[in-house]
């Protein structure tokens, strides 16, 4: 035997993992404000911003679920944490974006480190439950912060300033800031997935024992992934606060974590583009359905069930199959 066996990177073609599809999607998103202006449907931008923020959080969750095989049912807690750190900072008079982002990343990272260190000792349904538990604990903590609105939340009258500019405040500035952060996240996580780190993670998902025998400390790899995911979700929480101009504990409830999981799985987990598509799908479907009927969940529930039963690899996988690209 000579040479080293090369592990080929995940196919970069098709809808699920296609770099070109991703670029196309982002180009569409970049053009949306102009399109919206032209057709007069500016309201759609609010929706798309919400979808992009959730897509960022969903991408980070996919690092855990899709690549790492760790199903976290408490990921919305990081969204809430990022939002609350932002909200509290703004209420206390700190308005510089860089400072706030630093605080957000530090807090989310720390929370991820502590809770991850405990949670990653477990696996399977136990991991699901313990991440849920930590999420609940954070939710109860937020609800009891009566100085910061408690259950009612706080309206953010001051918004962050980037070097004295109002980039994060106005419609278009905010829109493109969110888009840029989404693209950066997408690029970073895509690279991470193809790196050695990502491959070890993926391999450990398939067969932990074998990876361990090769000398890798799986626990450490997983913990690092958990912290990265937490920090990214925290940043998404920061964007959430900027866009909604409002922060409340409702962001960190377990049904919200459920929404994120839905986005990841429906989009197609473990793929480059799945989470983004899943987020867009969920937000837009909910909006369209609810404009037809108040009881839209009567349709959405079964839709979810059907997608799970009949598509393997979620929407992107389905599209790839339909287009003959798998």
């Amino acid at each position: 035997m000579t040479g080293v066996v090369q592990i080929r990177p995940v196919s970069e073609r098709g809808i699920s993992n296609g770099i070109w599809f991703g670029i196309l999607l982002f180009a569409l998103l970049a053009l949306s404000p102009t399109l919206a202006q032209w057709t007069g449907e500016t309201y759609l931008l609010t929706l798309i911003m919400k979808a992009m923020i959730l897509a960022t959080a969903a991408l980070s969750l996919d690092l855990l679920i899709g690549r790492g095989g760790m199903v976290s049912f408490g990921h919305a807690a990081f969204l809430g944490l990022g939002a609350y750190v932002t909200g509290i900072a703004l209420t206390e008079g700190i308005s510089d974006v860089i400072t706030i982002l630093a605080m957000v990343i530090a807090t989310s990272g720390l929370f991820a480190l502590i809770t991850g260190a405990i949670s990653i000792r477990t696996s399977g349904v136990h991991f699901i439950m313990i991440t849920l538990a930590f999420g609940q604990m954070l939710f109860f903590t937020f609800s009891s912060l009566s100085k910061y609105g408690g259950d009612d939340g706080i309206s953010l009258w001051d918004l962050p300033e980037l070097f004295g500019t109002r980039v994060f405040q106005s419609g278009h500035g905010l829109y493109y800031s969110i888009l840029i952060i989404l693209i950066l996240t997408w690029v970073f996580l895509g690279r991470l997935a193809d790196s050695r780190f990502g491959r070890v993670l993926r391999a450990a998902k398939e067969n932990e024992l074998r990876v361990a025998t090769m000398g890798y400390r799986v626990y450490h790899y997983r913990l690092i992934a958990y912290v990265i995911a937490g920090m990214i979700a925290g940043v998404a929480g920061f964007l959430f606060a900027c866009q909604a101009e409002f922060v409340s504990p409702a962001t960190a409830t377990w049904p919200r974590s459920g929404d994120l999981i839905i986005m990841v799985v429906i989009g197609g987990m473990g793929t480059r583009n799945g989470a983004v598509l899943g987020a867009l799908f969920l937000v837009l479907t909910e909006e369209i359905l609810s404009s037809y009927t108040r009881d839209w969940r009567l349709i959405f529930g079964p839709m979810l069930v059907l997608i799970v039963l009949f598509t393997k690899g979620g929407l992107t996988g389905f599209l790839d199959l339909a287009l003959g690209r798998k």
């Binding site: 057709t39 929706l47 408690g150 101009e245 409702a250």
Partner: protein, 384 residues
């Protein structure tokens, strides 16, 4: 093409700023158990519109109803739809304070008028008061202040307090204590949505208190009242409450709530001709007794109607509309109604008692007037 058509029609119809129609966006919770309250607001508002022939101030009115799902972020998305896509002239909402807090900023910043048919958090009454916000209900703490005052007057020596652990609950406790200086034996905060009060009831029974003050909205109230009654405490501790025994919960609580006290600005048996007409029309149309939520929504219709009429249908001069709203030149179902500087009403408050009507249904009835022309305690903090 669409742009051309829009431009043409704007040209053709822009001769006067006279509104073709008045659009109102109604934002209430229509999902889950609290939907009962949102439904009341919706029914009350629709009855009001119908009584006015579908017009506000003589102008055709369009009503768009949006469900907040009791989720602040969902409400935010929906209200932005109302503002940006539907371009409503008025947003009427909400029932719950946390949802109001979420939609407050976008609505007032877009210079759209926000009329609240129920929620009245202290921040909006005080330091965050805004010219575009008007309440047709009350400030949240007021009802509790009434009860505190009553408890003080009646000479209850030991009061047991139980409220849910969220902002409105904390406001309730604070409001009560601001007027009651006796001994508070215990101050319990239960989780929101709590269902089984056996533990709390046990504490009440062993506390030696002679009165109970509580605020348990919606389903919580239904469960608590039933369990309180079953535990035999109804005769031992006077039940003082707000929003716990009202027309939304009485159909389920029935006899268990008889004789319990509540406090607010109106009851279905208020002896005013406009109020009696309203109750009769409401029951005829919807088949249930209206509560304060429906009444406040109806008054919101009358308020908007009076304002639009005063500006002759011209919504472009916001200052004029604001002045017209401030004038509150309409016949409220409550009788006396005028606005304070913070756009919260100055009105009478009553102690209510639960009773059974001849036809077997249960309602709250006026027991006594506690405050006349009562304004809220946060008006001074408002700089308007």
């Amino acid at each position: 093409m669409k742009k051309v058509v829009t431009a043409l029609s704007a040209l053709l119809f822009s001769t006067a700023a006279y509104a073709q129609e008045i659009k109102v966006g109604l934002m209430v919770t229509l999902s889950g158990p609290p939907a009962v309250l949102g439904r009341q607001v919706e029914d009350g508002f629709k009855l009001g519109l119908e009584t006015l022939g579908g017009k506000l101030g003589g102008v055709d009115a369009t009503l768009i109803v949006a469900d907040t799902e009791l989720k602040p972020d969902v409400a935010l998305t929906r209200v932005k739809g109302l503002l940006e896509r539907d371009k409503v002239d008025f947003v009427v909402g909400t029932v719950f304070s946390n949802v109001l807090a979420a939609i407050f900023k976008p609505v007032v910043q877009s210079e759209t008028f926000l009329i609240s048919p129920n929620a009245g958090p202290s921040t909006i009454a005080g330091e965050n008061c805004n010219p575009f916000f008007f309440s047709t209900s009350y400030q949240n703490n007021q009802n509790f202040e009434v009860l505190g005052h009553y408890a003080q007057e009646q000479g209850f020596e030991n009061v047991f307090m139980m409220v849910p652990n969220y902002q409105a609950g904390r406001d309730a406790a604070a409001g009560f204590k601001s007027n009651y200086t006796g001994n508070v034996v215990e101050e319990l905060y239960t989780p929101l949505g709590h269902k089984d009060f056996s533990a709390e009831i046990a504490q009440m029974a062993t506390s030696g208190a002679d009165a109970l003050f509580t605020f348990m909205p919606g389903g919580m109230g239904v469960n608590f009242v039933k369990q309180y009654h079953a535990a035999g405490l109804a005769d031992k501790m006077t039940f003082l409450s707000a929003f716990t025994v009202d027309e939304a919960t009485l159909p389920a609580q029935k006899e268990a709530a008889l004789g319990f006290f509540g406090a607010t600005t109106w009851a279905p048996n208020l002896d005013l001709p406009q109020s009696k007409a309203f109750v009769a029309a409401f029951e005829a149309k919807y088949g249930y007794i209206p509560g304060g939520f429906a009444m406040q929504a109806y008054d919101a219709v009358l308020l908007i109607d009076s304002a639009v009429r005063a500006v002759g249908g011209d919504m472009s001069d916001k200052a004029a509309v604001q002045a017209a709203l401030e004038a509150a030149d309409f016949e409220s179902l409550r009788g006396k109604f005028s606005y304070n500087n913070n756009h919260f009403p100055i009105q009478d408050f009553y102690l209510l008692k639960v009773a059974q009507r001849e036809d077997g249904k249960f309602q709250t009835e006026i027991a006594e007037k506690v405050f006349e022309d009562y304004s809220d305690s946060f008006a001074a903090e408002c700089k308007m």
